[in-house]
Structure formats: structure tokens, C-alpha cells
């Protein structure tokens, strides 16, 4: 349904994103994971054609949706796709709704705009969608203002707006970051159900490996604006081949044993202006050797999965 090939993005002379590829089909969930600043959200923005608004541009690669190359689309044509065929759920539901408008009209607007529905038909559709998102008493909620609702509820409304025009692809950019842990699980489960019920293609952007393990079919691991490993979720979790993926998986908290300390990855994510030469992960990599600082690694493919590491085979033999 949606495929991205070798995507590169630049802001002026700075190149924060390069060589990102993935594909999602209907009824499939793709996870994009990585630390803050690894280019996950930027990837989402590129797919939605939002880069020109913030001064960025696509320097290479293709974004294909339903057979057409989106990188060549005009702004006017893009507007029809946004919200119409590709829905985007952003990080912060608390501020994603217009504070002066009631919930009902805000959700109605989407169906009115993309499906040309009348006032009444749009409202009927809104109430129906709110119902499927397990929001009690949709008619009542439509008359509320955003400030009268909880964070979890607002996120459901935001999801409802993204779904209002019945899109084929849904991109959820850290949809649960701003929510309570209990609500997080509900929202993730809700998204998971939506994929099955509506045959959606879901791109789930997150930094939470455990969420990926629970919901995704495929994973792309990103680091410093590059995809470093991708493949089916089982393969990636069973036999991670990139040291960064291994480190991420090692960071998932397990059990309640007091003796076990929480693990982290030493160092910090490099900023866009000082991406390391060679393999971007080498300054933090436990396995790095001389070659890593000079030569960018290519993908070492094995079955459905691939890892960009000089020592992918070696890593494979000694899982961290």
C-alpha cells in the first residue's frame, strides 16, 4: 500500500535523513523504532508531504502510495491525500484539538471536506466512528469542548479524526507518549483492533520496543537518520543482528527482581550537525573496530531481514 525507498531529506545543507526504506500492506502493522532524534517523526512528515512547510525537502528516493510517487505530487493533490487516504496521529493529543470548537464539529469537518458529506451525514458518521472507538455516549461527547475531556479521550478523538474519511494508511507518531501507562495499553490495543477490522495499513512510530513486540508485523530500527535494521518482528527480536537493535532489546525492563539493574545505552544520539563518519553508531558500539569509523556499512541481508553492520554475521553468532 505504502512503500518508501531509499528516502533522503535535507534542510539546507544538513541531511538529517538518508537511506530509509520500508513498505506496509493492508492489514499490516509496521513499527519504526529508535531514540529521540533518530528521524522517526521526520520520516512521517516526509510521507505526509509536510516538509516544505518547515523548510525541508526530499533529496532522494521514492514515497509510493497506491502506485503513485508522492514526492512529485502538488500541494493541492497532497491535501486530498492527507486526512483523506493517509491519516496521521501526532504525539500530543492534549493540544491537537482546537480549544474553541466543540468535538463534534471538529470531527465532522474531516468527513465534510474529504467525502463531501452534508452536516447531518457527517455528524452521523462522527457518532458512528466515536462508537467504534469505544467512546461512550458519542452524541454527548460531540457537544463537549476539548478541555472537558481526559488525555486518553482526546487521543481517541484525534484517532477518530484521522479515521473519519476512511483512510487506507494510518501513521501513528508516538500516539501514547503523552498518556498514562494504563491508557497507553488501551490505545495500542485499539489501534491493533482497527488494523484488523478496517484492513488498515498502520505505521506505528515509537521508541518502545515492547509495544513493537506486541503489535507489529514488521520493524524498522532507525538510528541517526538511517535505517539500521529491518525485518519481520519475530526475526528481529529472536536474532537481532545490529548491535544497536541488540542494545535496544536489552533495554526493555524485565521482571521485578531488585538485583537486576535497568540497562541503558552509553552515550547520546548524535545531533544532525555532527553525525559520525562511517557507521553512525560506532562511537557507542561495543563491537566497533577501525573500519566502522571510516566505511559506512551496507546491508547484510538474511532471509526477510537486513542489518547495516560490518559485523552483522559475527553479531549473529554471538547474540548480546
Amino acid at each position: 500500500m505504502l512503500s518508501v525507498r531509499d528516502l533522503g531529506v535535507a534542510f539546507g545543507a544538513v541531511q538529517p535523513l538518508s537511506g530509509v526504506s520500508f513498505a506496509v500492506g493492508k492489514g499490516e502493522t509496521l513499527g519504526i523504532v529508535g531514540e529521540s532524534g533518530s528521524g522517526k517523526s521526520l520520516t512521517a512528515m516526509s510521507v505526509m508531504g509536510l516538509l516544505p512547510l518547515s523548510g525541508g525537502r526530499i533529496t532522494g528516493g521514492k514515497v509510493e502510495f497506491d502506485g503513485q510517487d508522492l514526492t512529485k505530487l502538488s500541494e493541492r493533490a497532497y491535501r486530498k491525500l492527507r486526512g483523506g487516504r493517509i491519516g496521521l496521529i501526532t504525539q500530543n493529543p492534549m493540544t491537537s484539538l482546537d480549544p474553541l470548537k466543540k468535538i463534534g464539529p471538529q470531527v465532522d469537518d474531516v468527513a465534510k471536506l474529504h467525502m463531501g458529506l452534508s452536516e447531518q451525514a457527517a455528524r452521523a458518521r462522527t457518532e458512528e466512528i466515536l462508537g467504534t472507538l469505544r467512546i461512550p455516549e458519542p452524541a454527548l461527547i460531540c457537544e463537549r469542548y476539548p478541555h472537558q475531556m481526559s488525555g486518553g479521550m482526546k487521543q481517541r478523538i484525534v484517532i477518530a479524526m484521522a479515521l473519519a474519511a476512511d483512510p487506507d494508511v494510518l501513521i501513528a507518531d508516538e500516539p501514547t507518549t503523552a498518556l498514562d501507562v494504563t491508557v497507553q495499553a488501551q490505545i495500542i490495543r485499539l489501534l491493533d483492533d482497527l488494523v484488523k477490522e478496517r484492513d488498515l495499513a498502520l505505521v506505528l512510530i515509537t521508541h518502545d520496543m515492547s509495544v513493537v513486540a506486541q503489535t507489529c508485523d514488521k520493524v524498522v530500527v532507525m538510528y541517526a537518520g538511517r535505517a539500521v535494521e529491518h525485518g519481520p518482528v519475530e526475526t528481529i527480536f529472536d536474532r537481532p543482528r545490529h548491535p544497536y537493535t541488540q542494545a535496544l532489546i536489552a533495554c526493555i525492563p524485565r521482571g521485578l527482581d531488585e538485583a537486576t539493574r535497568l540497562t541503558g545505552i552509553e552515550g547520546t544520539v548524535p545531533t544532525v550537525v555532527n553525525y559520525p563518519s562511517g557507521c553512525p553508531f560506532h562511537p557507542r558500539c561495543p563491537r566497533a573496530e577501525a573500519i566502522c569509523a571510516t566505511d559506512p556499512p551496507g546491508f547484510s541481508v538474511e532471509g526477510d531481514s537486513a542489518a547495516a553492520c560490518h559485523f552483522a554475521e559475527v553479531a549473529d553468532a554471538q547474540p548480546a
Binding site: 505526509m48 512547510l53 492527507r82 501526532t90 491537537s96 480549544p99 469537518d109 484525534v158
Partner: protein
Amino acid sequence: MNVSQMAIRSLDAFARMSIGRAFASGVGMVAGGFLILLVLVAIFAPWIAPFDYAAQNLMNANAAPGWPHLLGTDEFGRDVLSRVIHGARTSLSVSATAIAISMAAGMTLGAAAGYFGGFFERAVMTVVDLTWSFPDILIALIFVAIIGPGLTSTTFAIAIAYLAQFTRLTRAQIVRLKRETFIEATINLGAKPSHILLKHLMPNAIAPVIVVGMLAIGDGIVLEATLGFFGLGAQPPTPSWGAMMSSGTAQLFLSPWVIIFPGVAVAVTVIAVNLFGDELIRALDIRDRLRGA
């Protein structure tokens, strides 16, 4: 929904939200009550005024306050009270019309500049800032020179004098709101620029602009009186507070009531407008949004 309907709806929501709360305090109630009374007096001036404001009676010129002329008479024997009452009409209508024109133009320019940015923004803001660098009186003089003295010149002069304020304030609001997440979210849903600007940005930007408009009406009254005082505004026999004070200066010691009462009317009105404006700012909780514009 067209723009005027939208404006009415925003105003309606605004009124329900906050005007009530502005009246809640003691100061707000007194100031607001006075202003409502003043507007009613202005509207019903012909029925309230005890005499014809233009009727001269030279036999009874410069009569001291008493009966039947409660506030005395001027040098032509005209009733000062009637003229002050009719003067309210002139002052309020000229100031309110001017500010309405100024607000409409300023909001349109400011919103477009803030939303579209770039060269257009710089061009608009440069021109608008330029109007701000001229003293109000000078702008008025330019209009008087072009279309002659009178209320039309006064109205345009006041409108131009406050244009920069509304443009800058609206632009500042739009620039700030444009970066809000809910606007990004609306873009993500495929909304057109016109929809974003008219249905999301403007309603969220309008409250501080209305309050500044309210306060500007007070300043507009002072400016109208100033121009009237210099003979650039209302022409005789149209009663205007400023023009009345001007004619009163000649017999300041002989019949001080001619200058005192219109002066008191200007002062009390402007104080009431400002006090009520402050209460509105408090009720709307927008003090921080008025800064820097």
C-alpha cells in the same frame, strides 16, 4: 459560512464567555454600567435632550447652571446639557466607526501577513509601521488637507492612527497560533489554508483584538475631541465635546461651565472605557497575550 457570520458567531461566543465576567467586579459594574448608559443616551439623544442643541438665544447667553438650563448656556445661549448629550452621539459614533474600520482592516492585513509570511508580510508590516511613526494629529491634518475638515476626516484619521496596533496584534496572534499543534493537526487532516485561517486561527486570535479595540475607542474619543478642539473635526453647529471646549476657552473665566462639562464628559467616558477594558482583560485572562504586539 461567510466571514460576517463567523464574526458574529465569534462575537456571540465572546460575549457569553467574558463580558458577563467583566461586569462581575465592582469597578467593572460601575464602568460598564456607565458605558451602557452613555450609549443609550447617545442613541436616544433627541428625546432625552431638554432643548434643541442648535437653538440660539442670545438674550440668555452665558447663563450659569440653574433652571431651566441645568448646565448653563454657551456664548450663543445654547443649552450646554443638550449639547453635551448630542456630543456623546458624535464622539461615540465617530470613535466607534473609526475603530471598527481600523479593526476590520488591521485584522485582515495582520492575519494575512502572519499566515502567509515572507515578502508579503514584510511589505505589509513596513507600510503599517510607517503609519505608526506619524503623530495622530499629523495624519488628521493630511486628511483635512485632502478632503477638508469634518467628521469624515476625523474618522479616517483615527482609523489610520490605530491601524498599526490592530495589524501588529493580529499578526502576533496568528504567528503564535500557527505553530500550535492543533493547527498542524488540521493541516495533517488536509484542510485548505482558507479553512485554517478563518475557522481555526481567527476565532482563536480574536479575543485580545476585541479588547484592544474596546480600549482604542477610549483613545479615539480623546483624539476626536482633540481634533474638534483644533477645529479640524466636527464643524458648527454639530455638537462635539472637543469643539465645545474650544469655544469655551474664550470665556473660561466668565462662564467656565461651557468648557468644564464637555471636559468632564470626555474624562469620565475615557476613564470608564479604560477601567472596563482592564476588567475585560482580567476576565479573559489575556494580559500576557497583549504584550509584545
